[in-house]
Symmetry: C2
Subunit: 155 residues, 2 copies
């Protein structure tokens, strides 16, 4: 089980956009430079976050990205799902209905317990990520970092 590096990139970009004064735009290049990321590859993730309604993109020479809604209304789960998609990691293939020991359709009216236990764990993971917002992540950052970002973002 693995998450793409885009999750880290997307999360940091969201926390940075949350710090832009007056909800202003930030250019893709500036986001890439801030974290030393390859711009073309970052672009893919920013587009995914835009499609998922986490970011708002404005095109043109003065275009860029901003958060699509207040940082306190964007959860970490929103960002993770934007990058990783919403598919559950465990796909039940109903092997209980196969082979010599196959259960009958009648015995399978309730979900397979293997599937249920995997789903519960995924829901616990999602609930944990849903309990923290991008706004909260910003407040947890060192004050000196927030101060430097204010200077960089106003330049």
């Amino acid at each position: 089980m693995k998450l793409s590096q885009g999750v880290e990139w997307g999360m940091h970009c969201a926390t940075l956009l949350a710090q832009v004064p007056d909800g202003g735009l930030m250019r893709r290049e500036a986001l890439a430079v801030h974290y030393g990321l390859p711009e073309a590859y970052l672009s893919k993730h920013l587009q995914a976050m835009t499609r998922a309604g986490v970011l708002q993109a404005t095109s043109g020479p003065k275009g860029g990205y901003r958060l699509a809604r207040p940082a306190d209304e964007i959860t970490v789960l929103d960002v993770v799902r934007a990058i990783e998609g919403t598919a559950e990691p465990f796909i039940c293939q109903e092997i209980r209905q196969r082979g010599k020991g196959a259960s009958s359709p009648d015995e399978c009216r309730l979900p397979c317990q293997v599937n249920s236990v995997m789903r519960s764990a995924y829901q616990a993971w999602e609930a944990s990520l849903r309990s923290v917002t991008i706004g909260e992540l910003v407040t947890r950052m060192p004050k000196s970092v927030l101060k430097r970002n204010q200077r960089l973002l106003s330049a």
Copy 2:
């Protein structure tokens, strides 16, 4: 984020081995036939479960697999880790220390909050899988399935 189909296979095999009378062995072929699985590929997962100490393997013409300890002492997490490994899905690459906005080492004495929130979610997922044992999964199966398995496994 994706889990291999081996998780479903491994979990079902573990619940089946838990039903073998008197902790007897079950041959790899019989496990494959019970669930209609390709034996060669299943073999890979059974070996992983053996290496992880979930199963015990006995070689030779009368060889086979059994649970390495009582089913009530094997958690779902034990099986998932045996198949998927123990690496965390989120690998923090410390991009906060890179680029124009790089944090100083002094500002990074505490773990990155992005990393912390991802780790908490993973721990919630693990805790959920740790809270259910293979023995419990067996007790949740339909009685008619347990009865049929008793018949098949005693044959």
